[in-house]
């Protein structure tokens, strides 16, 4: 690809004023209200976003501070609304602070996986032939690997940090997105508007990014929502396995790991973070269901 062609592709913007575009965007967002599952999902997600954003205000205690006095009765009380964990740390505070890493890492990893997956899928589906063969086989190899073992190998080798978790999720989820995008591209490349673009001599990059990709956005958006939910589960699992975010900062998965041994005595210590994970995943799943419903409607 020559440099000017690339520059031209990137400068492409349909002749719509920014105000109109903002209005269209708002209309699109407002349509979420037409679907009940989507509305409920958005409300749950907004709730957790608010909790994460307002953690410093909401949390009654610092997340890592131990209240030794509460250790005798760690169950919910007036001082600790959700109780404390086995070290006397306030669960409400840890829950609020713990919402932050999840809500940053999960969507970030989805964005990364979508960007990488779109590029791979577009290239494979549009060019076919050997590029397709090489890329799909590479994706198959990644997908055929037991992911948990893959996570353990990579995270123990490179060390566990937020960025590494984003990277690992990006790498393992991109092949799934690539498959979806490849399938859509195979179908969309036969459309007459693609032939029309070829007739005016557009570059392959332009056709992929401007003619094909925007029309794949519906199914992609749905998948991104689902994928965010799955990522939240995986982050929980990583925390539970002890290869998630390093302690002592609160991490929902880690909170379950630390306290599940006390399940028979004080079940609230593990159940509270579990409920948080579930509700957030359900929120994203409901949004995905709603988006699919709205997509089918028009």
């Amino acid at each position: 690809m020559s440099a000017p062609a690339t520059a031209e592709v990137l400068s492409v913007s349909p002749p719509a004023t920014s105000r109109r575009r903002a209005r269209d965007l708002w209309r699109g967002v407002a349509r979420v209200g037409e679907s009940r599952p989507a509305t409920v999902g958005v409300l749950i997600i907004l709730f957790w976003l608010a909790v994460a954003a307002l953690a410093p205000l909401l949390a009654p205690y610092p997340p890592n501070a131990s209240d030794l006095a509460a250790l005798a009765h760690p169950t919910p009380s007036r001082a600790h609304w959700l109780g404390t964990d086995h070290l006397g740390r306030d669960l409400l505070s840890r829950l609020a602070w713990g919402a932050r890493p999840v809500l940053v890492i999960a969507p970030l990893a989805v964005l990364g996986a979508t960007a990488l997956g779109c590029l791979l899928g577009l290239a494979a589906g549009y060019h076919r032939r050997w590029i397709d063969l090489v890329l799909t086989r590479a994706c198959d190899i990644v997908l055929s690997f037991p992911v948990i073992i893959l996570y353990m190998i990579i995270l123990t080798h490179f060390g566990s940090s937020a960025w590494n978790i984003v990277g690992v999720l990006t790498l393992t989820k991109a092949p799934i997105i690539a498959r979806i995008v490849r399938g859509l591209t195979l179908e969309l490349r036969e459309r007459e508007y693609v032939a029309a673009a070829k007739m005016r001599g557009e570059s392959a990059l332009y056709i992929m990014l401007v003619e094909i990709l925007p029309n794949a956005r519906g199914p992609l958006l749905v998948d991104m929502c689902l994928r965010t939910g799955y990522n939240i589960i995986i982050i929980g699992v990583l925390g539970f396995l002890g290869i998630g975010l390093p302690p002592p900062d609160p991490d929902w998965g880690g909170m379950v790991k630390d306290t599940y041994g006390m399940m028979s005595v004080w079940p609230h210590m593990a159940l509270v973070p579990c409920a948080a994970i579930s509700s957030l995943v359900i929120g994203f799943n409901l949004l995905a269901v709603g988006l699919r419903e709205l997509g089918l409607r028009d």
Binding site: P14, P15, A16, E34, R191, E192, Y193, A195, A196, K198, M199, R200, G201, E202, E211, P214, N215, R217, D298
Partner: protein
């Protein structure tokens, strides 16, 4: 059975619930059908004719609602039936045939099984008896070798065969009423002709009443006794076929008749008259006549003040019209060609031509499958298009005409032979290897209005981008260029801001034409640009193409399966079969004897919108064979009704060169062909 009509709509109103509120699709509709009668329901897309069909079997869905009135079938109000009664009526008394046969058949069941199910479920007949009934029914819908067809799956049959199966399934329960909703739209002319003839024949034999829904008056005339013309959910005219075709009284009916291309019409002598404007959404319903806004005879004072009922006409039994001016309108005359075809014969220098063009597809074999035989999509194609002229390429689907279009456009690359554009060889050049100057010289208009424009981009972006890519230098004001192009294709400049889903099919196709015009091309290759459109919209697009050609001297390569449109628009015609040109010549000579036997069969299949001129048809047996490389003789030999003998299978046919550049590839000498054949196209006044 009770006395009285078989089906009666009594002041029926139907509305659909939408996001924007309830839309009255059918404001008030009354009509009746007697037992054994065939009634046609005609109107443009969106006029509510399919809603009528669905309401009969209560298939309106959750959004649809019967607001008022009663639908009586055999004297019973269909709305009062409970689920079991309704099921009995749907299966045994009323049967439906829809447009897309593939959607009506279950892909995982053999067609035999599906046919047998009907009597087994509805009548409790045993499997053996049901099998016999199914075989008998398949024989009746003229399918060869019924026992073999029984064991096939739907995808193993051609579109025409599938539609016959659907008709067989509908008739096997011996219903009193058969509802057919656009049963032949989407089929080839030859297949359409065969299906229409079949319906006609079955009707005569079985005395089944038929409600035949179509947007094309030309197909209805072949099957029906009576026609109802619908506009915006209302019947505007109703009468016998003869009354409608010889003395149409409603301006809308006249409009539908005037926009029908027929074999006797061409662009120079009997221009199509499209109906101005377009069908408006049913939301805003003005008082008075719904058609007033598009009517050329409108008298505002009388037409738009009060509702206009369907009134019987004096002295014409069964003829009803909803028009205040019905009695005042001048008698209608069918437009017939006037003048001579002399100017069409004027020579012009060739712009684009092909010589010995061939295209061989090698189907990709899977990693585990054996390689399949290559497909010969084009064989030795020689055609020429003159500057400012129209070359039409006609043939059934699968004949290679779209491949020819793609090779000319460079989307596919020829495997042998030459394509010469303005003296330069371009046959081996894919579009990605063509220079910008070459690309702007030749542009393409595609078939499917739904996929020709990118749904994500606005009209303005689509055209603006074409301007930027095909014009030299950046335009000073791209908006003005877009507006100018929209004006050329007669669209309002405001449309530039719309997305394709906010446009009608005809508008999309006009935008596609504007996009192709952006580089001011010398040649436009149009691949079936009107075949997916309603006849009334088709007329506007065809006229637009003719006008653009006259104004700009653009050469048009027009791919079509519709011979009436080709007759209207073309200067030269190439008739294609299995990738080979079987006949080529000026439009007047191709449409007059001697014909190639294939041309003759195609012409005989064209629906004639005139009840007095129904010709006997030449039916082609069997499907189009596979275009294999092994073919030695005449490609048409396997289906040719005039086949001479073994020579047709073994030896390539000689090419007879007749007057001018007219040529026919056939083993039968041209003189003999001429004596065998009678003219299928009415001669123009001068020739008579």
């Amino acid at each position: 059975m009770t006395e009285g009509p078989l089906l009666e709509f009594r002041d029926v109103a139907i509305a659909y619930a939408t996001r924007g509120g309830e839309v009255p699709v059918i404001p008030a509709l009354s009509f009746r059908m007697d037992a054994g009668e065939a009634m046609g329901l005609v109107g443009e897309s969106g006029c509510g004719k399919s809603t009528v069909a669905l309401s009969i079997v209560r298939y309106l869905g959750r959004a649809g609602r019967l607001v008022r009135g009663r639908i009586l079938f055999e004297g019973r109000d269909l709305a009062t039936l409970d689920a079991a009664e309704l099921r009995a009526v749907r299966g045994r008394r009323i049967a439906m045939v829809y447009q897309d046969p593939m959607a009506s058949l279950n892909p995982v069941m053999t067609v035999g099984r599906q046919l047998m199910e009907v009597p087994m479920i509805h009548e409790g007949v045993g499997a053996a008896a049901a099998h016999d009934r199914a075989i008998e029914m398949l024989r009746e819908v003229r399918l060869a070798d019924p026992a073999a067809v029984m064991t096939r799956y739907p995808h193993q049959l051609s579109g025409g065969q599938q539609q016959r199966i659907v008709i067989a399934m509908a008739l096997i329960a011996e219903p009193a009423l058969l509802v057919m909703d656009e049963p032949t739209t989407g089929l080839d002319v030859t297949v359409e002709a065969a299906v229409l003839d079949l319906v006609r024949e079955l009707r005569r034999r079985r005395r089944t009443a038929i409600l035949f829904i179509s947007h094309n008056l030309g197909t209805v005339v072949r099957v029906c006794d009576r026609i109802g013309v619908m506009y915006r959910g209302e019947l505007v005219e109703e009468g016998s076929v003869r009354q409608i075709f010889t003395d149409p009284r409603h301006p809308y009916t006249r409009g539908l008749l005037d926009c029908l291309p027929a074999l006797g019409r061409d662009k120079r002598h009997a221009p199509l008259v499209p109906i101005p404007g377009q069908l408006e959404p049913a939301l805003a319903r003005p008082p008075g006549c719904g058609f007033a806004a598009r009517c050329v005879h409108v008298d505002r004072a009388r037409c738009t003040s009060a509702p206009i009922p369907l009134r019987p006409r004096d002295g014409a039994r069964g003829h009803r019209v909803a028009c205040v001016r019905a009695a005042e309108l001048a008698p209608w005359t069918r437009r017939r060609p006037e003048g001579t075809a002399a100017d069409a014969a004027r020579a012009s220098d060739p712009v684009i031509s092909t010589r010995g063009l061939g295209k061989l597809y090698h189907p990709r074999s899977g990693p585990f499958g054996a390689g399949r035989a290559p497909v010969r999509a084009l064989r030795d194609v020689d055609v020429v298009a003159g500057r400012g002229r129209t070359l039409a390429v006609v043939g059934e689907s699968g004949c290679g005409k779209s491949t020819l279009a793609k090779v000319l456009a460079g989307i596919e690359v020829a495997t042998e032979g030459h394509v010469v554009l303005d003296g330069a060889e371009i046959g081996g050049l894919g579009v990605d290897r063509r220079s910008r100057a070459l690309r702007r010289k030749l542009q393409m208009v595609f078939q499917n209005p739904e996929s020709t424009l990118n749904p994500s981009h606005t009209v303005g972006y689509a055209i603006g981008r074409a301007l930027r890519r095909l014009r030299d230098g950046a335009p000073a004001d791209p908006g003005a260029g877009v507006a100018r192009l929209l004006e050329i294709v007669k669209l309002a400049p405001e449309l530039a801001r719309r997305k394709p889903r906010q446009l009608s099919g005809g508008e999309k196709q006009r935008v596609a034409i504007a996009r192709a015009l952006a580089g001011d091309p010398d040649v436009i290759v149009a691949d079936e640009p009107v075949s997916a459109l309603d006849v009334s919209v088709q007329a506007t697009i065809v006229n637009l193409l003719a006008e653009l050609q006259a104004a700009r001297g653009t050469t048009l390569v027009f791919i079509s399966h519709d011979l009436a449109v080709v007759r209207y628009l073309a200067d030269h015609v190439a008739v294609m079969y299995l990738g080979a040109i079987v006949e080529f010549g000026r439009v007047a000579s191709v449409f007059a004897p001697p014909y190639h036997p294939y041309t003759e069969a195609l012409l005989s299949a064209v629906p004639v919108p005139d009840p007095d001129r129904q010709y006997a048809r030449i039916l082609l047996e069997g499907p189009v064979p596979r275009a294999s490389e092994a073919l030695r003789g005449c490609p048409f030999a396997s289906r040719c009704p005039r086949k001479v003998g073994a020579v047709c299978d073994d030896t390539p046919p000689p090419v007879h060169r007749l007057g001018g550049d007219h040529r026919i590839a056939c083993h039968i000498p041209a003189g003999e062909l001429a004596t065998l054949q009678t003219a299928l196209v009415e001669p123009s006044r001068e020739e008579r």
